[in-house]
């Protein structure tokens, strides 16, 4: 024991330590993914599933390598449509929510219409917009925006109204103007609600862009999905699907990052 205490313990660098901790923490998830991939490969190999029906993980990985250029080229239009739709749809939703909170008549007039638009299946709306706006970027951006719009509108209205009556009393005693109440209280207290909606929107806007590309497009991941399917290029189809999922994950991560930067408080004091 005395000898052991004299030997200096190797202290790993903090950075390495942290990475190791991260790997250990994610260990079960990584193991599960590896296991599923192995199972997939095993099933395809054991039952001799033809490649056009269901390609093996190895075949998909090869497709990624062979079609890297094509995937990259089609990634950007979809990213562009999803991101622009995300920004436009959410901005309109936030602006409407602000209007609704300050004008009950406006809320009563337009909220039912917003609900109605939300009930139209996006896949049914896509051809209509393609007919109006043609084959370019516009209908894709609009559909990506529409799909973001409703959850953000509903959440933002709730968030702007989620101010305790006591806090409003306080602002009244302080003779605060409506603008000050909006800017200093309502907007801040709506942020957690807004980000809950933005997280949903960050992945659905990618779905919107891809669905719009299915209806009429010769570019983007949606168009590539259709093309790969019709030509029985299953490994490419799978690779495209994974690329689309990756895009959604990137969008989600960006929103989560912004949330962590902007909201550094907890609502323990409110109610």
């Amino acid at each position: 024991m005395a000898e052991a205490s004299q030997i200096p313990m190797p202290v790993p660098a903090p950075r390495v330590n942290r990475m190791l901790d991260a790997v250990v923490a994610r260990g079960p998830a990584l193991a599960a993914v590896a296991g599923l991939l192995l199972l997939w490969q095993g099933v395809v190999w054991f039952f001799e599933v033809p490649e056009y029906m269901a390609p093996s993980p190895v075949a998909v990985l090869n497709a990624f390598q062979e079609n890297a250029g094509t995937l990259w080229l089609n990634f950007w239009p979809t990213f562009f449509e999803a991101a622009l739709g995300f920004v436009a749809g959410n901005l309109v939703a936030i602006a409407l929510a602000v209007w609704f909170v300050h004008n009950t008549t406006a809320e009563r007039a337009f909220f039912p219409i917003a609900v109605f638009i939300n009930t139209i299946p996006i896949i049914a709306l896509a051809p209509v917009l393609v007919l109006i706006f043609g084959n370019g970027f516009a209908p894709k951006i609009i559909i990506a925006g529409l799909i973001c719009f409703f959850p953000t509108l509903v959440n933002m209205v709730r968030g702007l109204k989620a101010v305790s009556p006591a806090t409003l009393d306080l602002m009244r005693v302080l003779s605060a103007s409506n603008w000050e109440i909006f800017w200093k209280v309502r907007l801040q207290s709506s942020l957690p609600f807004l980000f809950a909606a933005l997280k949903i929107a960050s992945t659905t806007c990618v779905i919107g862009a891809i669905v719009a590309e299915w209806i009429g497009s010769n570019f983007g991941l949606g168009a590539l999905i259709i093309e790969a399917t019709f030509n029985f290029r299953s490994p490419l189809l799978y690779a495209t699907v994974f690329t689309a999922a990756l895009l959604a994950v990137v969008m989600f991560a960006l929103v989560s990052f912004a949330e962590a930067k902007l909201i550094r408080w907890k609502t323990s004091d409110v109610h």
Binding site: A166, V173, L174, S175, S189, I263, W265, T267, D269
Partner: protein, 267 residues
């Protein structure tokens, strides 16, 4: 016996020659277009610099009276005069501050930023104290940058008191500020409120439903009766102004609380 030691000031508002801090005259407050009478014919004069606790059974309109003085509810009848002004003008001139039962801190602001809030809205007012000094006054030196969720319930209420003092109000309206706190925290804050009152000279109206709290804090106790809310008694508490928690075990104090309890049962 206890009553003999109490000087009853009800019906004798002209006792002091200088103008009162708050004058309430024949005030009715009703809700639901007159169907619910919360306050009926309430009259009271609060002397300048006094510490008045408002006590009464639930539903007697304690909070409603405070809210009427603070221009949060309108009086259906009668006159309310706050530092010679209507409640609305007094509010705009920042002549009073209000401390709620909830600390109502903005959770995204630090303690210091919360204390400074009154200076940022509603024109900010003319007079103002240094938020840092006020946090020190309420015993929160060194916690300036703490977020509300990092503070205990008692600390949050301390921040709320500091925020109320930042505009240097002539009147402090405290609406059951310690009602949600445990007794130990409450006792400590009671002593501190007395200290702050002596140091600032502010007129304080303090709503409570605790008899010992009302007697310990108040120079005067305003007792309200319920259904409808009306003045039962406005009386001076005959205790020395310098009070310590231990004073609550003295015979004089117990006699006063016994008297208040008897009055409360009659309400």
């Amino acid at each position: 016996m206890a009553a003999a030691e109490l000087h009853t000031a009800a019906g004798n508002p002209a006792a002091s020659p200088d103008p009162g801090a708050i004058r309430v005259e024949n005030v009715d407050v009703t809700f639901g277009e007159g169907t619910v009478v919360a306050l009926k014919d309430v009259s009271v004069d609060i002397p300048q610099g006094a510490f008045v606790t408002i006590l009464g059974p639930s539903g007697c309109g304690k909070s409603t009276l405070m809210r009427a003085i603070a221009d949060l509810v309108p009086a259906a009848r009668g006159v309310i005069d706050v530092q010679g002004q209507t409640p609305r003008d007094a509010r705009r001139d920042r002549n009073f501050s209000y401390v709620f039962q909830d600390a109502t801190l903005l959770p995204w602001r630090t303690a210091l930023e919360n204390v400074g809030l009154p200076l940022e809205v509603g024109g900010g007012g003319d007079a103002h104290a240094d938020p840092r000094d006020l946090l020190a006054l309420v015993g929160l030196k060194g916690r300036e940058d703490a977020m509300p969720h990092e503070l205990s319930g008692g600390m949050r209420q301390r921040v709320a008191i500091a925020r109320a003092l930042v505009t240097k109000p002539k009147i402090l309206l405290m609406d059951e500020p310690f009602g949600a706190l445990d007794e130990i925290t409450r006792d400590k804050l009671n002593e501190e409120v007395l200290r702050i009152w002596r140091e600032t000279g502010t007129t304080i109206l303090f709503v409570t439903h605790s008899i010992p709290e009302a007697a310990f804090l108040g120079e005067y106790v305003l007792m309200l009766a319920a259904h409808p809310g009306r003045v039962k008694e406005f009386m001076k508490v005959e205790l020395p102004p310098e009070r310590r928690l231990a004073d609550r075990d003295t015979l004089e104090f117990v006699q006063i609380t016994a008297h208040l309890r008897k009055l409360l049962e009659e309400c």
